[in-house]
Structure formats: structure tokens, C-alpha cells
Amino acid sequence: MASILRMVAVLSLLCASSGFLLSYLKMTTAGRIEEQVLTYVQGPALAEVFPDAENVPLTERHAFTLPDGRSVTVFPARKDGKLYGVAMENSAPGFGGDISVITGFDASRDALIGIGITTMKETPGIGTQVSDPSFTTQFRGVSLPVALSSGGGSIDAISGATISSTGVVDAVARATEDYETLKEQILSRWQ
């Protein structure tokens, strides 16, 4: 009996102290990790969407609140001192999990500037082709709304990776919805 109590006490003590230590470490590193993720995950995708931006869209980001309470982070891009596009990240289910896409909108004429894939868990070599330029460049300059060619739009799905292609288009469609809801707020903030 005594030995069982001892086992319980030692294990509980060990687990409790490791729990406290790890939650402390998690709290102290949370800010830095968020910054690193933005730099190394969203950063390259933003550079792909706005190759000729004169500012750093990452540092000027601002979180807007949608009427349904969700918060959306918007990245503005400037050229010649004027706002020429805004980007936001959104995700939709693909084949192996959620595909997150940064979608850039041209604020002056309601069209897409481009997209960049940030995270995905698609099948290597098949679903991951959605991040190839041959697929993503199709989104440049497309007027809203965006749809696959099978759905009456102008985006050709990758053969053999229809579910992944649909996931990307769904993510862009969700971003479009958010963009249209927030458009007034976005323009009044940066223009």
C-alpha cells in the first residue's frame, strides 16, 4: 500500500512540475514564436503575392473584426506611396488537412493580385503541386468571384489533384467573402 502511494506521489509530483515548467516556457516564448512564424511562413507567401511592394506588408498588419466576431489579419501593400493591394490569410480543407492561402486583392478594381500558399499537408508530389507557380500564377488579375473552370470560372485544376485544387479555390473564396465584408473598413484605414 505504502509503495503504491509513493508511486502515485512521485509520478504526480514529476508531472506537475514538468507541466508548470513547460507552461511557463510556452508563455515566455509565445510572442517570439508568433513573430518567427510570420517571418518564415507568411513572409515568403506575401513576397510572392506582392513582389513589387515598397513597404513591408508584414510589419503594417492590422487585425480587423468581422461582424460574426472572427478576427482577420490584413496586410497592406503600397506602391508609389499609395495602397495598391491588401492580403489576408484564409484556409479551407484540402486532401490531407487544411490548406492556408494568402490572397492578395487589388483594392481599386475588385480583382485578385495573386495568391501564395503558406501551409498545407497535401500528398508530396501530387497535392503539393498547388504551390507550383504554374498553378498559382493562374490567379493573377482574375476578377472576382474566383472559381475552377469546371465550375464556370477560369482556374484550371491540376489533374490528379482536384481536391487540393478545390481546397485552394475554396480558401480564396472565403478570403473574398471576408474582403468584401471588410472592404470599407480597410480602405478607410489605409487610404
Binding site: M7, V10, L11, L14, S18, L22, L25, Q36, V37, Y40
Partner: protein, 229 residues
């Protein structure tokens, strides 16, 4: 005392070199050695976890009840691995991206639990720390070496810097999974050959190959108790 510490430290560098002599912890050895720098990064994470887990386990070894010792060892090493994961995300994010799932998998790396069970659970703090550092360093050197060989032939670079003449055509095979197996096999074979050669030169009998059973391996705690063969 310094002599025994050195002995515990140095056994991990050749005699009981984890991936190539004990053939332990092979999953990351094969998976993350596409380049020398990822191998080095993985090795550093293992040194950190192994040295600290050996030290902590050795400190608390007399408080831990025998029956739940494995559970306690795993709680300690898992906490250290999560700490490494968080620190790597905060300070070396590109490395974290290239190592991916293999950072959390250090928990189930049999070297960590193996050293805890075979050494740190029975020895004082300083020798345990030396053992952990030595094993970790041996692991790091092995991973960096394998990574360097694969990177050199598979991409023509070393730590990302081009070293091969421009006429060199990289064989992509080496950075793919089969290349890892082939390299590992060649390294194991040449180490066995070297050991046999050195034994001959010392005038000793050649070690039997393949080495006979569990008893030949000094890393296992069973080697000291001949009753369990």
C-alpha cells in the same frame, strides 16, 4: 576520477558510437541527413536532451520507485523535448521547419531511454552527464558526417556552400531515402572492416562477424548479468 569521467565521455565517440556501433536511433539518422546542417541541428537538439535528461534522472534516481521508473524517465525526457521544440521555434525557425516531425520524435529515440535505463539510473551525476554529452556528441558527429557525405554527392555542396567543380553532376539518388540506406550500409561496413583490421594489428583475434548476440554489446545493462542471456 577525471580518468573515469573521460572514459564515460569517450566511449560514445567510437566504441559505443550510437548510430554506427550500437545501431540505435536510426530513424532520424536516415530521415534528416539530407544536408550536413540539418544533421548538425538534429544532433545539437539530441545533445541538449540527452545530457540534461541523464543529469536529472541521475539526480532523482534514488527517489524514483523501481516499478514506475520507465514512466518517470519518459516524463522527464518528454518535457525536455517539448522545451527544445519551443526554443527551436522561437530562435531557429528555419531549422525547426527542416527537421519537422523529427524534433518531437526525439522522445521515442531509443538512445535517450536507453542511456537513462542503462546508465543514468544507476550512476552518480557527473559520470551520467559525461555519458550523455559523449553519446550526444557521437550522435551529432555521425549525423553531420552522414549528412555531409549525402549533401556532397547529392547536391555538390557542403553546409550550403558549393564545393564541387561546376562540371559535377549531382546524383539526386543520394539525397533521396535509398541514398541514406546505401550510405549507412557503407559506413557500417567500413567501420566493421576498420575494427577487424585494428584488432589484427594488435594481434588479437578478429571479432566475430556478425557479432554474436546481445552480450557483445557493451551498452546494454544485461551485459553485466550473465544469468539472462
Amino acid at each position: 576520477m577525471p580518468g573515469t569521467l573521460w572514459k564515460e565521455f569517450s566511449k560514445g565517440l567510437w566504441k559505443e558510437l550510437p548510430p554506427f556501433r550500437l545501431v540505435l536511433g536510426l530513424c532520424p539518422v536516415l530521415a534528416v541527413t539530407k544536408s550536413a546542417s540539418t544533421g548538425l541541428g538534429m544532433g545539437m537538439a539530441v545533445i541538449f536532451v540527452l545530457a540534461l535528461s541523464n543529469m536529472i534522472i541521475s539526480l532523482v534516481r534514488n527517489m524514483i520507485p523501481q516499478k514506475v521508473r520507465i514512466a518517470c524517465f519518459i516524463v522527464i525526457s518528454a518535457s525536455l523535448v517539448v522545451a527544445v521544440e519551443l526554443l527551436m521555434q522561437a530562435y531557429a525557425y528555419p531549422l525547426y521547419q527542416s527537421l519537422g516531425i523529427f524534433v518531437p520524435l526525439i522522445v521515442v529515440n531509443c538512445i535517450i531511454l536507453g542511456r537513462a535505463e542503462a546508465f543514468a539510473g544507476k550512476n552518480p551525476v557527473l559520470p551520467s552527464l559525461a555519458d550523455g554529452l559523449g553519446m550526444g556528441l557521437g550522435y551529432t558527429l555521425s549525423l553531420t558526417f552522414l549528412g555531409a557525405v549525402r549533401e556532397l554527392f547529392g547536391a555538390g555542396t557542403l553546409f550550403g556552400a558549393p564545393v564541387m567543380p561546376s562540371a559535377f553532376e549531382p546524383f539526386a539518388f543520394m539525397v533521396e531515402a535509398p541514398g541514406a540506406f546505401v550510405c549507412l550500409g557503407l559506413i557500417l561496413a567500413s567501420m566493421n572492416y576498420l575494427n577487424a583490421h585494428m584488432a589484427r594489428r594488435r594481434g588479437e583475434e578478429e571479432p566475430e562477424n556478425p557479432r554474436s548476440g546481445c552480450m557483445a554489446c557493451g551498452a546494454c545493462s544485461r551485459a553485466n548479468s550473465p544469468a539472462q542471456q
